[in-house]
């Protein structure tokens, strides 16, 4: 593939090498890498809707999914396929003193049994409940389950470490304690007229994708086919290839449709390796699928946090100091998400100090969960800002505006684009409703309005590639080996290709989900799919368009520069137009093949997303029932490709946020570390009855510096500010300061009682 010129503003040197050093960001984690880049330096489309992009589009795969015809990993049925069951640790920490697999091996239907150490992912020294110890493949699931019961094992139970503060005292960490300081925090506090501090807590939250983690593995010759529910088919390819010592392309990873991921499906996982190893031994395809209960034990979580935060400000509201200490219950494995991120990045403040402790515990490992770290961190920061506003006697919206950051707070870089001030402006009418909303309160039901803002990454990055194939029927095929996890990626890609080729979206097919049938594409994580893949698809479509016009120029005897594609026609600026089939029809079995790649991110700039949410609530002050009546969301994520799908992302993020705000909590037995709420009756994700009216709006201005598309990701931003906006609305309505998620009945009744006490004290103080 020829490397093309890269303009200087995208980090390239048009005369020199195309190998550049760039920052790569996934879920807020940056790495600096050398990367080979190429890009068609297309000008961005003008702001506003085009013929297809920027207009609502129905999901191109909607019917398959709605009718139950889409084949998910859960539906893959291969001839001779075996089923598995996994023996998991019943204890949070233990040792396998003795294990005997013999009886299980001889059980009816059993075709293979593997135990501790036979693969890396089976252990004889489990460090959390549910950690895999042994696995059985059998003709049926029932046989596999029965055989697991026959594994004789003697456990030596050991004392688990479950308390994050104790872990910090013992220095039981995953990786390094993360310390950050800019300016002089102590001086900043000293300069403050008002200082507020508080401790906020968040619970362990479980992803609960409707399709559980699962894989079907089949060896074919020297190669391995892996059907897996994943957000990252290339990552699975690489990991499995390494585990089985295969050249990466000997591993084919397929994920045509997947039933949700939310960050938990970014890697291969033990179930994939178990299926692959048992398939290798049995010489038959093997499925390993987690049950719901296993899913909620071992497939990852949003880790619990304890956050002690402090803010100092001058009486005019200028922030002089922000500080935070964060205890993060990572579990036995995982990584430290940036819980301090919002406090470091959202507001202009010269003096900031944070410490984040990654507590290593005998609990199941965390994994990325929709804006990991920032969701938890925005909760504490945005509640604290309202507390500060109250202490200063300032309007919370005004306080946020006064501390607006015009350049990146960490290193002073300019933002590639930032329209948070415009978000505040558009939020204002909704914010101003609070007087009217409060006035509708009565003795029992108190009403109020709260707001919170948000920042997050979502710029995507290279490498990512796409091919566009134009056939003699004049239809277009976008081929790229990414995955559509349900966010409508296929649809957005079809729209982008259709826009570039001047076609209706119905004329575009999108083929994704197979690592052997398309070029490398980014993982579907970190709100990066659209900003990474969209520009590559557009570049590929432009390449195909250019070739089409080259042929048309010869056929119609025009100069190429006077021709363009519009509405399915080849249009000449001299007035002539011809259906594109007149050219594609000549191809017969020939094809026009366009290729495109994602260029680098703008050098020296910070690419971030922003947003504001305003919540209206009603609180029953006697029973603690909270009804969220309305959430107004406004997000700044660059160009909106599909307003219909974008609205769904915002609504979905807010609905998921309502879950961790009110009803979702993984509860662990405090002594044994057993996970108690692993079923969906006990672990309560929101139902349709819990949903408020949600109104959303987008700034919808392309990021002028970011790619040929100007779009950023939207998957994660909407979940970030909701909990704090609701908590601030509860405070507005009742004076109660909730500090722990979820805002369960016990939490709100506690906060209401505390607020009544405070009010009494004030009255008492006033009367003396």
């Amino acid at each position: 593939m020829p490397l093309r010129h890269l303009p200087p503003h995208r980090g390239g040197d048009p005369d020199l090498a195309r190998l550049i050093k760039t920052e790569k960001e996934v879920e807020g984690r940056y790495t600096e890498t050398w990367i080979i880049v190429e890009e068609d330096a297309l000008d961005q489309w003008p702001e506003g809707p085009g013929a297809v992009v920027g207009r609502p589009a129905r999901k191109v795969d909607g019917y398959e999914r709605a009718r139950g015809e889409a084949r998910y990993t859960a539906d893959v049925l291969l001839p001779g396929m075996l089923q598995t069951a996994v023996l998991r640790s019943p204890h949070a920490r233990c040792r396998v003193r003795r294990i005997d697999l013999a009886r299980a091996s001889e059980a009816p239907g059993v075709r293979g049994v593997i135990g501790p150490g036979e693969i890396e992912w089976l252990t004889g020294e489990p460090n959390y409940e549910g950690e895999p110890v042994a696995a059985v493949a059998a003709d049926t699931s029932a046989q596999a389950r029965s055989a697991v019961e026959l594994i004789e094992v003697e456990w030596e139970e050991l004392e688990p470490l479950l308390d994050p503060e104790e872990a910090v005292r013992r220095r039981s960490f995953i990786g390094d304690v993360k310390r950050y300081e800019r300016g002089d925090f102590e001086r900043g506090l000293a300069e403050a007229d008002v200082v507020v501090e508080a401790e906020y807590r968040t619970q362990t939250v479980l992803h609960n994708s409707m399709e559980t983690h699962q894989a079907v593995c089949e060896w074919r010759g020297e190669g391995l086919d892996v059907y897996v529910s994943t957000q990252n088919i290339w990552g699975v390819r690489d990991d499995v290839a390494e585990a089985f010592d295969l050249p990466p392309d000997k591993v084919r990873v397929v994920c045509e449709y997947m039933g949700g991921g939310f960050g938990a499906k970014n890697g291969a996982g033990h179930f994939t390796y178990i299926a692959a190893e048992l398939a290798r031994r049995a010489g038959r395809p093997v499925r390993c699928a987690l049950t719901r209960r296993e899913e909620n034990l071992v497939s990852g979580n949003r880790n619990a946090t304890i956050q002690r935060v402090v803010a100092g400000a001058r009486s005019d509201g200028t922030l002089t100091a922000l500080g935070g200490e964060y205890w993060c219950s990572i579990g036995w494995e995982g990584w430290l998400p940036s819980t301090a991120g919002p406090l470091q990045m959202l507001y202009s403040c010269e003096n900031v100090r944070t410490t984040e402790y990654p507590a290593k515990l005998n609990l199941p490992p965390m994994s990325a969960f929709r804006a990991p770290g920032f969701t938890e961190g925005a909760w504490s920061l945005e509640c604290l800002i309202d507390k500060l506003a109250a202490a200063l006697g300032l309007d919370p919206l005004e306080l946020r505006r006064r501390n607006y950051a015009d350049a990146d707070t960490m290193d002073g870089r300019p933002y590639s684009s930032k329209n948070l001030m415009e978000c505040y402006r558009r939020a204002e009418p909704h914010w101003n409703r609070r007087h009217e909303v409060r006035a509708r309160s009565d003795e029992t039901w108190k009403r109020g309005v709260g707001m919170a803002s948000q920042t997050w990454y979502g710029g995507g990055g290279p490498p990512s590639y796409a091919w566009v194939r134009l056939g003699s029927d004049g239809r277009v095929n976008v081929v790229t080996a990414m995955q559509d996890i349900g966010t409508g990626t296929r649809t957005a890609m079809a729209q982008i290709a259709a826009e570039e080729l001047g076609l209706a979206v119905e004329r575009v097919e999108v083929q994704v989900g197979d690592s052997s049938r398309g070029p490398f594409a980014t993982m579907s994580a970190g709100s990066s799919t659209l900003p990474s893949m969209g520009p590559a698809v557009r570049a590929a479509a432009a390449d195909a368009a250019r070739q089409l016009l080259e042929i048309a120029a010869q056929r119609f005897d025009r100069e190429e520069r006077v021709l363009s594609l519009q509405g399915g026609q080849i249009v000449s600026s001299d007035g002539g137009s011809w259906p594109i089939e007149e050219i594609t029809g000549m191809l017969e079995d020939g094809q026009i093949l366009g290729k495109g790649a994602r260029g680098p991110n703008p050098a020296g700039m910070r690419v971030l997303t922003f947003g504001v949410q305003v919540a209206e609530v009603a609180v029953d002050v006697e029973t603690g029932e909270v009804v969220v009546e309305r959430v107004y969301a406004i997000h700044d994520v660059g160009r909106i490709v599909n307003p219909l799908g974008a609205r769904s992302q915002v609504e979905g993020g807010i609905v998921q946020a309502l879950g961790h705000t009110f009803s979702e909590a993984r509860l662990d037995d405090p002594r044994s570390g057993t996970i108690l709420t692993r079923t969906l009756d006990a672990y309560k994700v929101p139902t349709i009855a819990d949903v408020p009216e949600i109104e959303c709006e987008f700034i919808d201005v392309p990021d002028a510096h970011l790619t040929n598309l100007g779009s950023k990701g939207l998957g994660e931003p909407p979940i970030i500010p909701t909990a704090a906006a609701i908590a601030n609305a509860i405070r507005d309505a009742t004076g109660a300061e909730v500090t722990s998620l979820p805002i369960s009945r016990e939490e709100i009744l506690r906060a209401l009682a505390e607020a009544r006490e405070r009010a009494k004290d004030r009255v008492a103080a006033g009367s003396t």
């Binding site: 006697e622 029973t623 009803s663 016990e746």
Partner: protein, 279 residues
């Protein structure tokens, strides 16, 4: 395992022996069988022999909650308890007879900790996670009784007719003890056939839960006003449906550290329910 479908009560009675279990809606029994909490050699499908439907004050035990929630003959408290119970599909499947016999949602019991209800010698919830658990009669076992419907029937002074006897619905339940860990007084093989509900002058059911729907009660309060006064019964606050005389009864609660919030909740709901029925 085998499944049999008796055509008569006599046949059913003959089939309901030691290792057999009566199966109706299956919403409780099937998951418990699959979890291995309940074992059965024979499932006796009793749907053809247990009455279904409502006639005046009589309710067939095979009537589903979904049928009851829209039946105008049913007192409001029971209708609302049905409406707010479980999920629509579960209400479509689950019968009122089965609902009365459902087991606790205590996570320790469901996860088969060797707790007192499972014959063990410790209640894991008392020192563990118990936010959804009992605030009354919780010394031996802190499980909460999850049935909204049972609380409503206790408030409504319902009578239970089995294939062997009739008894007040409150006598259907017993607190578990060292000697007997059961929470119902039903004999082995005994089948609930019908319920007779007293018609109150007014009745209501109020429920506090973690979601707006599809949640078991943190506190449920049923109130029914009769000529002789208001009867109140609570769900989710004791190992069995809990009869109380009024808000002052809540003073006798013995909450655990993690569920004292239920006291305020119960008081508020009792006051409201009493007011709602004009008590």
């Amino acid at each position: 395992m085998q499944l049999v479908r008796p055509r008569s009560l006599e046949e059913a009675a003959g089939l309901l022996r030691n290792d057999s279990r009566a199966l109706a809606g299956g919403t409780e029994l099937v998951p418990l069988l699959r979890d291995g909490i309940v074992a059965a050699g024979t499932l006796v499908d009793v749907r053809e022999v247990v009455p279904r439907g409502v006639e005046g004050t009589r309710i067939g035990a095979g009537t589903t909650l979904g049928e009851l929630e829209v039946d105008p003959q049913i007192p409001e408290a029971l209708r609302e308890a049905c409406r707010l119970a479980a999920s629509p599909q579960l209400r479509n499947m689950g019968t009122i007879g089965g609902n009365l016999l459902q087991a606790t949602r205590c996570w320790y019991w469901r996860l088969q900790f060797p707790c007192r209800l499972h014959g063990g010698d410790v209640c894991h919830a008392r020192d563990g996670q118990h936010r959804e658990h009992a605030i009354f009669a919780n010394h031996f076992c802190a499980s909460g009784h999850p049935s909204d419907v049972a609380a409503a029937l206790v408030a409504l002074s319902a009578t239970v007719h089995t294939d062997r006897r009739e008894l007040p619905v409150s006598d259907l339940y017993r607190l578990p003890t060292e000697e007997n860990r059961d929470v119902t007084a039903l004999e082995p093989g005994e089948l609930i056939l019908e319920l007779d509900v007293r018609q109150p002058a007014a009745s209501t059911y109020l429920k506090a839960m973690d979601r707006k729907r599809w949640s078991f009660p943190l506190v449920g309060v049923a109130a029914a006003r009769f000529d002789d006064g208001v009867r109140l019964a609570l769900a989710g606050v004791a190992p069995i449906p809990w009869f109380v005389t009024g808000p002052e009864a809540v003073d006798e609660a013995t909450p655990l550290p993690g569920n004292a919030y239920k006291i305020d909740l119960a008081r508020a709901l009792i006051r409201r329910a009493t007011a709602a029925v004009g008590g």
